[in-house]
Symmetry: C2
Subunit: 447 residues, 2 copies
């Protein structure tokens, strides 16, 4: 699945050319395979004095089968550097970041992980609030400085939600988060601060029913596969015109196919009926279906505007309303939206698409407190440059630009988006609510 | 002050080369000169049905001497397209954006202005919240599509703060906001929803005392000049080693010079004494002083870390505390921070700088409610690529990259940062509190 340039850089001629010309050498990212070691090397765990997460983190790493190291030692190649920064209550104490990372940042291995954990700034006051907000400048810079596929994230864990951070710690340290980089994640800030670990972390979705829209190909097919791998029964939905490919996906994941145009007036009712009658309800709803109708605003037709807003936003809201009103989405249910870097930063030729995808962020913000009331969550992913049939049609130079201009110097794969969605869907992510996480390799083309 | 490439593109050879090779042709941005017409052409004013801002906007445009047009007419070259989107309460109504802008977006003149006004999503509920949040995807895309120096912004005006939006409307429509593009601004969301128009919009700071740190050169000197132009007495502060240049700036702006190292233990006290004894207090504090000590984290010295955090963040907090505790900052006072795109997105070689500048955002968030209690405000600018002595030292290719990779295809000037600060400082901006506005030409190198 590597792009052609990436393949070229691995040939003898490519190695010579990239080294002589100083061209980017996209690393091969470590990706998840069942049974692989959780990390390629031990995790160095540190904390600023007075932190409240270190013990929990140690237990989480231990439970994940990760070897923990407490003090740096010469010659060690770390799989991860994990730092509890919750003890930092004044900007002068930010030097604790420097003291921990400076001596060891070079010793992180390929596809290594930096995770800094802090306290949500908006939940504390005074100097602590300022110092905690400052962490973001640090972790984003580290993400840009790291090479060879290593990533850097900041996780803000609300007081009381320490235990509920386990699914997030595991996801970010694992190879599942290969293309997530430079992100800021909040745990326990909207709704519950607790979560239940699954009986089996390799099958966290056992017994769950997951609806995936736009499931016949690309990112949607990858989502179906990953949720099924994690134990869910997948209801793969797409428009009738995609029926053949849809059946193939449904068969492959031992799920079921549902041909439905979600923009039809009666679609919410038909969907609710189907889920209730066939499956007794649904636990996970992934609004992956989306279309583009690109033109600059001056050249865009009214129908292109309407179609994109309808499919990418309005139809999803109608479905949510129906599934919630009728109790089809079971208690503890999850809604997961697919936004886009275009929804965050805007994009030439995509005024309709960017508006709809910014609206998906609005959908998450609006519904998160309501979902929390019924023990559920709503979050979104915002893919950056992902290698799909859709992006294969992007002109070559722009495609190359999108790929290389990121911390990881490459595009992501559909599975990277799917893994992030699976993290949201995990029952252990009950305290992960209201987040919008980019799956963009810390793409530089931002807002 | 145009960069060499920009100068080249205006020569006959340069015009030929850029057109043949498809190279970017950075437009000459219209910048403010006292007495110039407020806009190069009329403003087309529109509204979604049910909006609450249209009347206020019409009065504001009229008061600014801007010709208002209510319906598009063939052949008109607009100075601005202004749209009240507060009436949009459902995503399907987002088509109002399309209907207003699609037929006329091509008819906007050089350095023209698009301003969309909405309701802060976090202050409303349900579908309205989602639709209002979606506006951001639209205005950011329009900013990227517009050519020839035109810009696009979104202003969220809280209900009740309609009248208080005048300084913001004027700033965004004027040539003062030349390098502000693709931004989202909130009015009336933290603290007061009212504001008083100045007696003279050309001298809004008459009778005010403004402290500017790091004022001896670059952006600091430009801030001193612009605040003085607007009527303020400027206390220009810098370290003793900059004494000569500092005096020159102070003389030029008919202000006073204060040699002081703000990181000294007794600096807050000495500053408070100086401002009280010489000026009876201060109205505007601009924390412009900042340093860089760039190295990757692996190579950074502890002293480089500490120096940057101290100058760019800790010392500013100590000064704020003192000026507030002793009542040196007068009622209605303004504190203005200088963050950076690096503080938002991180930057290679700047883990210390990015941390400090993310902390400045934390400073704004933390202090905004406290400032509001005393009738004051705190906001920050986040400069992108600005042409200064500091950026002249950046390696050529990276500099070119930083310049061209933005909607305006060029770096900004120090005066662009200064004008944004003057907007915050304006007494009419009393309801502009807690904002962080990038002055970056919608630079693509974002978070």
């Amino acid at each position: 699945m590597a792009d052609k340039y990436q393949q070229f850089t691995r040939t003898p001629l490519g190695k010579f050319a990239t080294s002589k010309l100083g061209l980017p050498k996209p690393p091969v990212l470590r990706r998840y395979r069942p049974g692989q070691p959780p990390l390629d090397g031990p995790a160095l765990l540190g904390a600023a004095p007075g932190g409240r997460l270190e013990k929990t983190l140690a237990a989480q790493l231990d439970s994940a089968g990760i070897e923990i190291v407490r003090a740096p030692s010469e010659g060690t190649r770390y799989g991860a550097l994990v730092f509890d920064a919750t003890g930092i209550t004044d900007p002068t104490q930010l030097r604790e970041l420097y003291s921990f990372f400076h001596p060891v940042i070079r010793d992180i291995g390929p596809s290594g992980r930096v995770v800094v954990l802090g306290t949500p700034p908006e939940l504390v006051e005074g100097r602590e609030r300022i110092a905690q907000r400052a962490l973001e400048g640090f972790t984003r810079t580290v993400g840009k400085e790291l090479k060879r596929g290593a990533t850097s994230q900041l996780v803000y864990v609300a007081a009381g939600a320490e235990e509920a951070s386990e699914s997030t710690t595991r996801f970010l340290l694992s190879a599942k988060s290969a293309f997530v980089d430079g992100q800021v994640i909040r745990v326990g800030t909207v709704g519950t601060k607790t979560a239940q670990a699954p009986a089996d972390w390799a099958k966290p979705l056992d017994g769950k029913v997951a609806l995936v829209t736009g499931a016949s190909r690309g990112i949607g097919a990858a989502i179906a596969e990953v949720l099924a791998r994690d134990g869910a029964h997948v209801v793969a939905l797409d428009i009738p015109a995609q029926g053949g490919e849809l059946s193939a996906v449904a068969n492959r994941v031992h799920g079921s196919a549902l041909q439905l145009d979600i923009t039809a007036d009666d679609a919410p009712q038909r969907l609710a009926d189907h889920l209730t009658q066939r499956h007794g309800g649904v636990d996970i709803v992934v609004h992956n279906a989306g279309i583009t109708r690109d033109k600059t605003l001056a050249k865009m037709s009214e129908s292109a505007w309407d179609a994109v807003i309808t499919v990418n936003l309005a139809a999803q809201l109608a479905v949510n309303d129906k599934l919630l009103a009728d109790g089809v989405l079971r208690e503890g249910g999850r809604i997961i939206g697919v936004s886009s870097i275009a929804g965050i930063a805007g994009n030439v030729g995509q005024s309709n698409y960017a508006t709809s995808k910014a609206g998906v962020i609005g959908m998450v913000n609006e519904a998160a407190p309501r979902m929390a009331e019924r023990g559920g969550t709503i979050n979104a992913v915002a893919p950056g440059f992902i290698e799909t049939q859709m992006t294969a049609k992007v002109p070559l130079m722009i495609r190359e630009f999108g790929r290389r201009l990121s911390s990881l110097a490459q595009g992501g794969l559909p599975v990277d988006v799917a893994e992030t969605i699976a993290w949201y869907a995990n029952p252990a992510s009950a305290a992960v609510n209201g987040n919008v996480v980019r799956v963009c390799g810390q793409g530089f083309l931002g807002a």
